[in-house]
Symmetry: C2
Subunit: 192 residues, 2 copies
């Protein structure tokens, strides 16, 4: 045993995640990463193997992050309708100090066709978000807030698809009010 690591793996991975999130995989160079992560190239390779592995770990971190945030929306809500509105609001407005859009959607668009690992991770994360949406829908259907005309799993697919569209739109300079109108209308289908 000897000298212990001087950086928090989680903290530097967070910085790598934000860079990839903002710029994409190909555009983000190792110089970018070294500069923004604040660690030495050597440490980066020792800890994260190579650029591709680092990207996958950053993507996992993003998945976890999104999962946490969406779960928080559900926990904070007093009704299924409020949960859904919080989720859509979160997707549209994001967080401070976070790049616009969604790293998973970006990664799927950029890499899923040629990178099987990214493809698998993206579908996995999408499925996870869909499950969370399905839980909200079931809750709303049981409480009578939402219609029972449609299957909860199908509605979750539908809602997730709309969220994915919004995640693309937040990368462009589209006005937020427009996205909010779209989210509103998307949720109308749930009315009993």
């Amino acid at each position: 045993m000897a000298r212990s690591k001087e950086f928090e793996e989680a903290a530097v991975l967070e910085k790598a995640m934000k860079l990839f999130w903002e710029q994409g995989y190909e555009k983000t160079s190792l110089n970018d990463l070294v500069e923004h992560m604040g660690i030495h190239r050597r440490s980066l390779y020792d800890t994260f193997t190579d650029k591709h592995t680092l990207f996958l770990k950053a993507l996992e971190r993003f998945e976890d992050r999104i999962g946490d945030r969406l779960t928080a929306c559900v926990k904070r809500s007093r009704s299924a309708g409020e949960a859904l509105r919080l989720v859509f609001g979160f997707i549209i407005h994001g967080e401070e100090d976070a790049p616009a859009g969604c790293m998973l959607v970006n990664s799927a668009a950029e890499l899923a066709l040629r990178d099987a690992e990214v493809d698998a991770k993206a579908r996995e994360a999408f499925a996870s978000t869909e499950r969370l949406l399905a839980e909200i829908v079931v809750r709303g259907q049981e409480s009578g807030e939402f219609t029972k005309r449609y299957d909860a799993a199908e509605l979750a697919e539908y809602l997730h698809n709309a969220l994915t569209g919004l995640r693309v739109m937040t990368r462009t300079t589209t006005a937020k009010e427009k996205l909010e109108r779209t989210a509103e209308l998307t949720m109308r289908i749930l009315e009993p």
Copy 2:
């Protein structure tokens, strides 16, 4: 005056478009382009200025292409409902010899944040697709096929957002049946 050009500008641009569409901007190198377009580097630079300008022209070509295809869906249809089903079907299943997904959505995700020209082109093209959807909605509302509860322009935003989501999903290996279910449910809101 002297020797005339030996290649069709449109034909080689088509090949560049497909490369950018499949691989994205950063991943596509000039060697890739020269190799697949079948013309000399020199001719490429003489005709298209540089990589970025070539990309913008390829993006314009994609816009036109999408516009043509969607207009064809509308022309081929006997009802607003059929027009919409054709549009969704086209987005989900694409064409032969065409990469999966949508070059505009990919470009927005990859570049809109840092490239103002791509951002502008993407929003412009999205607006154009929305206008086409609005026309279909108006047609359906006038014929009594669609509900008049909601504003046509708002419904067009809503439909376009769902289409955008589908365009992302077609980049992953998600099953087509699932996307068709989602499209179905998305169109249900139009029922009177």
